[in-house]
């Protein structure tokens, strides 16, 4: 690849970096060295690939959503089926990689933050698989709206700690996980679930998720006869999007579109779309990026129907892809995402995660404006079983 970000200190242009207290610098150095040592180590790669194949079920298929495409009457929509992975989302690609690193670093305890609970489940899963103690921090508001995932984590042997501070969502869970890490730095590995945080996390999480586009560049010509005209993925922190974008970055003919959470609509101010709205650049959770904040530099509360997108910042590599013009970012609001959720159930018999429904909704918006010979690849990053309570409640149904 000619694209070679980040630099050795984790900068994607002016974004990224290592903005943490001195108390974490030692641990980040240690992680950086371990990753540099093992990322090209044949034994590490072989172990990772074996688990991705036999435990996760990779490669995940690409599926041509013919009925939905025909209904829309324009571009053909293809779905990269990350929802079919073990644990039901792309998150496990990364947690396996980080857990294998943790094991080589001699860390017996792993911690994680989680929003929708997908990353928490994926972490609890690999902790069980590799025999590690696991603690997951989750905003108390998210514990409420994602109760099936909370129970899954507990079944897998993890301790779930509801975080009551701040807005009680993903960002507060991240704060709390960082505090745990600082305190227990000797025996603990922090498995960050998205392409944010201090270097090397944005790079590490991207690399482990890039398997998604590595497969897609081979699968698309086989299935559709060519590469897609655009690749579309939802962006909260942005891990599934970086995964499906990465190997397409050097193919200028393929548009990259990130879909942020428009919440109650951009005009309402209640959303989680820092890139789409050109939010000011700031520093949070160890990196510099676009950040939803007030004029005093305080982080403001975000809103999205999907817990996994409810985050005020965004991975620094997305900030860079936006500025460099390589990717474009748009927002889809709660209602549009919900309609896409129902449409995919109806036309294709697939229940998508509310997060992924945002990406799908944008594809459904632009497909009718394009010719039938055009091809859109949507990363169906997760399945929607975890969201059935949320959707039922909106319909006034108690399960």
């Amino acid at each position: 690849m000619t694209y070679n970000y980040p630099d050795q200190y984790g900068h994607f242009g002016p974004y990224g970096g290592i903005y943490v207290a001195e108390t974490l610098m030692g641990a980040l150095d240690e992680l950086n060295q371990a990753y540099e040592k093992y990322r090209h180590d044949p034994e590490f790669i072989a172990e990772l690939n074996a688990d991705l194949k036999h435990y996760v079920g990779r490669p995940s298929p690409i599926y041509h959503a013919r009925h939905l495409s025909a209904h829309l009457g324009g571009a053909q929509i293809y779905l990269k089926r990350e929802d079919l992975n073990h644990t039901g989302a792309h998150k496990v690609n990364n947690t396996i990689g980080q857990a294998l690193l943790a094991r080589r670093m001699g860390k017996k305890r792993v911690i994680a933050e989680t929003g929708a609970g997908q990353h928490g489940v994926a972490t609890a899963t690999v902790a069980a698989r590799y025999g590690m103690e696991c603690v997951v921090y989750m905003g108390a508001a998210d514990v409420q709206r994602q109760s099936p995932n909370v129970f899954r984590m507990k079944l897998l042997g993890a301790t779930v700690i509801p975080v009551e501070s701040g807005s009680k969502t993903l960002k507060d869970a991240l704060n709390e996980a960082m505090r745990d890490w600082v305190t227990n730095i000797e025996n603990t590995f922090y498995i960050i679930g998205t392409v944010a945080g201090p270097h090397p996390y944005p790079m590490l999480v991207r690399d482990f998720n890039s398997i998604v586009s590595k497969e897609a560049v081979v699968q698309m010509p086989e299935l559709a006869g060519r590469q897609p005209d655009a690749v579309i993925a939802c962006v909260g922190g942005g891990s599934n999007a970086m995964g499906v974008f990465y190997h397409y970055i050097d193919m200028p003919g393929v548009k990259l579109i990130g879909v942020e959470a428009g919440g109650h609509g951009i005009a309402s101010g209640e959303h989680a779309a820092p890139l789409t709205t050109n939010s000011p650049v700031g520093v949070l959770h160890g990196n510099k990026t676009y950040l939803m904040q007030d004029e005093d530099g305080q982080i403001i509360e975000t809103h999205s129907i999907s817990a996994g997108l409810d985050y005020p910042g965004v991975g620094p590599e997305h900030a860079w892809l936006k500025d460099s013009g390589r990717a474009e970012y748009v927002a889809i609001d709660d209602d549009e995402a919900l309609r896409a959720f129902h449409d995919l159930c109806h036309f294709e018999g697939i229940i998508p995660a509310l997060e992924s429904s945002h990406a799908l909704a944008h594809a459904m918006k632009i497909a009718p404006t394009m010719g039938k010979d055009k091809v859109l690849l949507v990363n169906l990053s997760g399945r929607g079983d975890k969201d059935i309570n949320t959707v039922a409640r909106l319909k006034g149904i108690t399960l």
């Binding site: 200190y9 970096g17 290592i18 903005y19 943490v20 207290a21 001195e22 108390t23 610098m25 030692g26 641990a27 150095d29 501070s165 701040g166 960002k171 507060d172 991240l174 704060n175 960082m178 505090r179 600082v182 305190t183 227990n184 730095i185 000797e186 000011p280 650049v281 700031g282 520093v283 949070l284 959770h285 160890g286 950040l291 904040q293 004029e295 005093d296 530099g297 305080q298 982080i299 403001i300």
Partner: protein
């Protein structure tokens, strides 16, 4: 000579250690911040670290996080904090004030504007917890241009190379974090601190202050014996949290006097 240097020089001559209390500006309300600053000076504070409220204080424990939340309920932002220092300076020209907080409020204001304002109102040092020397060099250049000391943390996990790097960039004094964890956590391991200090002294010519985990006169005295200054944060914030607004100045004052007496024995 800067105010911080002057204070440490005078203390050295009197063979005394510095007492450096911390509290968050705007806690429990903005009207009490300047009275609290004066009360701390009267009770024996040599330098004051004044916290700038932030919505996501990752390196702090629950006590200081709640202080930030109380201040933010009154919408106390960075420019208010600077105004408070200006008001304090009308009747105090000798006690150094160090602003302590996170980088984002400063990023939002702009480092040059911030540094200029610091110089105008009489701020002496700035500690941005999440800006290590690697990321902060441009930001800190603005501070130095206006004669403001960048203050840095050193942790038990800091390697020799990192101590050296911090020492190059640091001015005023260096703040050694005495335990692994967040503010207000755990108990002190005095033996471990004692072991670490010579490693720090090899690279650091500046005075060394120690903080995190100092909860009473006994721990303040024990730590003071090992370094040049004692930083007390969460314990003071806890006193503010547990006091009514009528009693808060008197209660904090009493606590700091006790700490002062203890530190004087070192």
């Amino acid at each position: 000579m800067s105010r911080i240097q002057t204070v440490f020089e005078e203390l050295k001559q009197r063979k005394r250690k510095a007492l450096i209390p911390f509290f968050t500006a705007g806690d429990p309300n903005p009207q009490l911040t300047v009275p609290l600053l004066h009360a701390l000076v009267e009770a024996g504070a040599d330098i004051i670290e004044l916290g700038v409220p932030f919505s996501d204080p990752m390196a702090d424990g629950p006590t200081i996080q709640r202080a930030s939340e109380r201040a933010l309920r009154h919408h106390v932002g960075l420019h208010h904090v600077l105004d408070m220092v200006a008001e304090f300076r009308r009747s105090n020209s000798g006690t150094p004030i160090v602003l302590m907080g996170y980088g984002n409020p400063v990023e939002a204001m702009g480092w040059e504007t911030f540094a200029q304002r610091c110089a105008e109102v009489g701020v002496d040092g700035v500690l941005t917890v999440d800006f290590p020397p690697e990321e902060g060099h441009e930001a800190f250049a603005h501070l130095e241009k206006h004669g403001i000391d960048p203050i840095f943390l050193i942790a038990p996990t800091s390697t020799d190379a990192r101590v050296e790097r911090v020492a190059k960039q640091a001015r005023g004094y260096v703040y050694y974090v005495s335990l692994k964890g967040v503010t207000g956590a755990g108990h002190l391991d005095l033996a471990a601190i004692e072991q670490k200090i010579p490693q720090l002294r090899r690279h650091i010519q500046l005075p060394i202050g120690i903080g995190f985990g100092i909860r009473d006169a006994a721990t303040a005295l024990a730590v003071a014996k090992l370094c040049d200054g004692v930083v007390v944060g969460s314990r003071i914030v806890q006193e503010i949290e547990n006091s009514s607004e009528q009693d808060v100045v008197a209660n904090v004052s009493k606590l700091v006097k006790e700490l002062r007496q203890a530190v004087n024995l070192a």
